[in-house]
Symmetry: D3
Subunit: 175 residues, 6 copies
């Protein structure tokens, strides 16, 4: 058992010309690559095992990131489901000389830990220790049910955590 803070991983990079798209801002695919790497390290720390990416969801690109920006990526395991781990990734871009820093992206990456024969490994539970970690922990179940429904592996009526969101009487339904 470990808290999200135990797997927290920080990555800091500068957007080089090599990383840009034809508009001169950070290439979206490059950022997906970096987020994958940062979140895989968080999952490795939590599981103490080799991990592979199994899904990516909820990646939102809010702002273009300029050439020369300092990009900070933070990843931490929010919850586990036997052999899989959900990692929440956040991305900030900073123009240090102008003293500007904005949040640009968020995403949820899911990993499975593998043993030496490349078979899925049961991973330790996550124990949230504060409000934010608990919110991420609770949401992880709903995101998981969504993934399973969209992948055709779960019937909507069996997705209890999710259904609750759509019930009129649900006081939390506004999220």
């Amino acid at each position: 058992m470990a808290s999200p803070a135990d797997s927290e991983t920080w990555m800091t990079l500068v957007v080089q010309p090599n990383d840009t798209n034809p508009l001169g801002t950070l290439h979206g695919g490059r950022l997906l690559y970096w987020m994958d790497e940062c979140s895989s390290i968080a999952a490795t720390k939590h599981s103490r095992a080799v991990v592979v990416t199994v899904s990516v969801d909820g990646v939102s690109f809010r702002h273009a990131i300029e050439l020369g920006s300092v990009v900070t990526i933070r990843a931490r395991v929010t919850r586990t489901f036997r052999t899989s781990m959900e990692v929440f990734v956040e991305v900030w871009a900073e123009n240090i000389p102008r003293n500007q820093r904005i949040k640009c992206n968020e995403a949820y990456y899911t990993f499975v830990a593998l043993d030496e024969r490349k078979q899925p490994l049961v991973v330790p539970d996550v124990v949230p220790t504060n409000e934010e970690e608990r919110r991420l922990f609770d949401g992880a179940m709903r995101r998981r049910q969504l993934r399973l429904i969209l992948a055709g592996k779960l019937k909507a009526e069996d997705a209890d955590a999710l259904r609750a969101l759509f019930m009129p009487e649900n006081p939390d339904s506004k999220k």
Copy 2:
């Protein structure tokens, strides 16, 4: 107006050592980069404009892809929402000498088209022309409502296309 087939884009690549992770299979981040590039071309074809990635969802990694595999990526616009376009991306890996080909990944990338002042541009509608295209078109509304709910921009009770999935009387709820 155009059909998904009009924006269809194919990319073919070989997994080089340069593209692998320490396990010797295709690095997940690299595949996310390639899918981003392939789907951005599909969105460019549909909108005839410069596009930027705004979100990525439902990326599922089903099988590790071996070094030396031929990777085929197919992307097409499934539906548009005024200024945004959802692109469905599929990935197959092929071991040609062994005559094996399997589907390895799927994802939904969303793009916005920009005009010359980098402002969002209204894009043409998509007209599905067969059963599969219609299924993708219908699902796009549900996936969009999900993104908005998860991003806190839509209340669950207002997500009509999605709610229908969770209503007990809904005969399609098993998807």
Copy 3:
């Protein structure tokens, strides 16, 4: 036996800043790399074996390709000579927003297929099925004789397909 269409391979890419030369257009060496990869996939499809490049000829760079262009590469096997395969590669660059598309390059890559002990493998014949495929098929013999003469492995007077080009009575000598 297979037709050139059976090995046809399409690759689509966007010219990123990463791919440019100091003039801001696509680096010639990068395009040679991409053409090599696309044509090697076509040769792999035809031979169903691992292939290695043995020669490259007739690469012509007609137009500089701008940053942000969509590059489409098409490769297909034109003819085989026991263990070697000639692949014809064509390259188009497209500025989709301006609706411009021009042919920028052509080349002939030759591959040998290898068996598991890395020895050359006899490959199936190519059967041309239309006028253009037949023209490529016929030209392949002349191009092969040229390669052999230039490499000092064939005497000019033994290069029958080629000599015919230079005989005054030859009605096709204008190509």
Copy 4:
């Protein structure tokens, strides 16, 4: 006026895992990229101008180059034709600990020099100063005629340097 030695350019590199193909040897496309870069420097030295690749011919890959090999590339301008320059490129691979060095590749790259408005620039003549340089100089005319014939820009019967090769009475026809 300058001799081939005046434009001679040497490049030395180590084959890193990053440069290999799935067989674990140097990727053919990577070598084409390096040869392009090395020969473009030779053409820049000769013309003292910005240059762009216009064609590549006669690239022969004789031996696979192992991971860890030291690759030496040598390029020099052999002859010019008003605005274009032919560069002869040679590639050796060396296993220094085992004291082995073999010639692996050769190629002819052609460049055009550009002035500041990106218009072709007349370049200085090449003056060969020894036997080998003269042989390359003479062959350049034949290679140029071949390129023009294959590109449909010259009739075979007008290719005098080349025709001489195919005339029975030609004592040099064996090359």
Copy 5:
């Protein structure tokens, strides 16, 4: 004025096949690149300006870093000299599944901050706040004098901080 902790920057990466040398361990040049990037961010944080590398010293590679290792890099500004900043960089490699972590490298990078006309900018002083920071601060003067002597810009007899090291009476001369 700021302490070293204010500019502290952490970078975390995984050694991918792409980053290795022919021995299969992290390429020394790649690590130098990463250390340069990490330390330049620390210098940017301290100066709130664009910075350029002016020198690198004392890079010691103590242990080869294996493929798949998690590399952690930490950089912080130790002392400034009007327009230049010395950054101390440390590198650890971790095999998380085996729970091993060792320090592999250290280095001193020096940067100059530039204003908008690319002229050197006076940077704030560093105020060390603990024993380790003070030791780095004091050593920085000696390292600077060394750089200047080796660069021929300072006479050895004027290098007071350094000379003290070599005076027999110096009780700290053992360092």
Copy 6:
């Protein structure tokens, strides 16, 4: 035994957009990578063995190198110490069209040669054959003592070659 000239290695490259920093000049980390590769080849030539980088010192970046410059790197072994070799690296940048060439960098890289069990190997001595080589040879001992002092492996009072620099009576102390 061999002279520095026997291990001399030249590398020539063009600064591509891919190699630049956000200021549009050559990325310092990229140059460190290239210098590492060039100097490792020189050390391999001298030792006829596989080598690994053990330290880097005295890297001075004197001038920014512009996009499109031709970079020439020269490396040669200056002196050996049983199993280690010091390599002196010099870097010039050239704007060939403008006929400008300036020296931009210098550095000292140290390598150790490894035998097949990855154990350090005794390497041949260097015999300097001219004034410049002798100056580099003599300085190597002082640089080595400096590295050892800074690394805490040598007491300053035992660093005889270095101490001589700081003695008032030393007529060479101005370097």
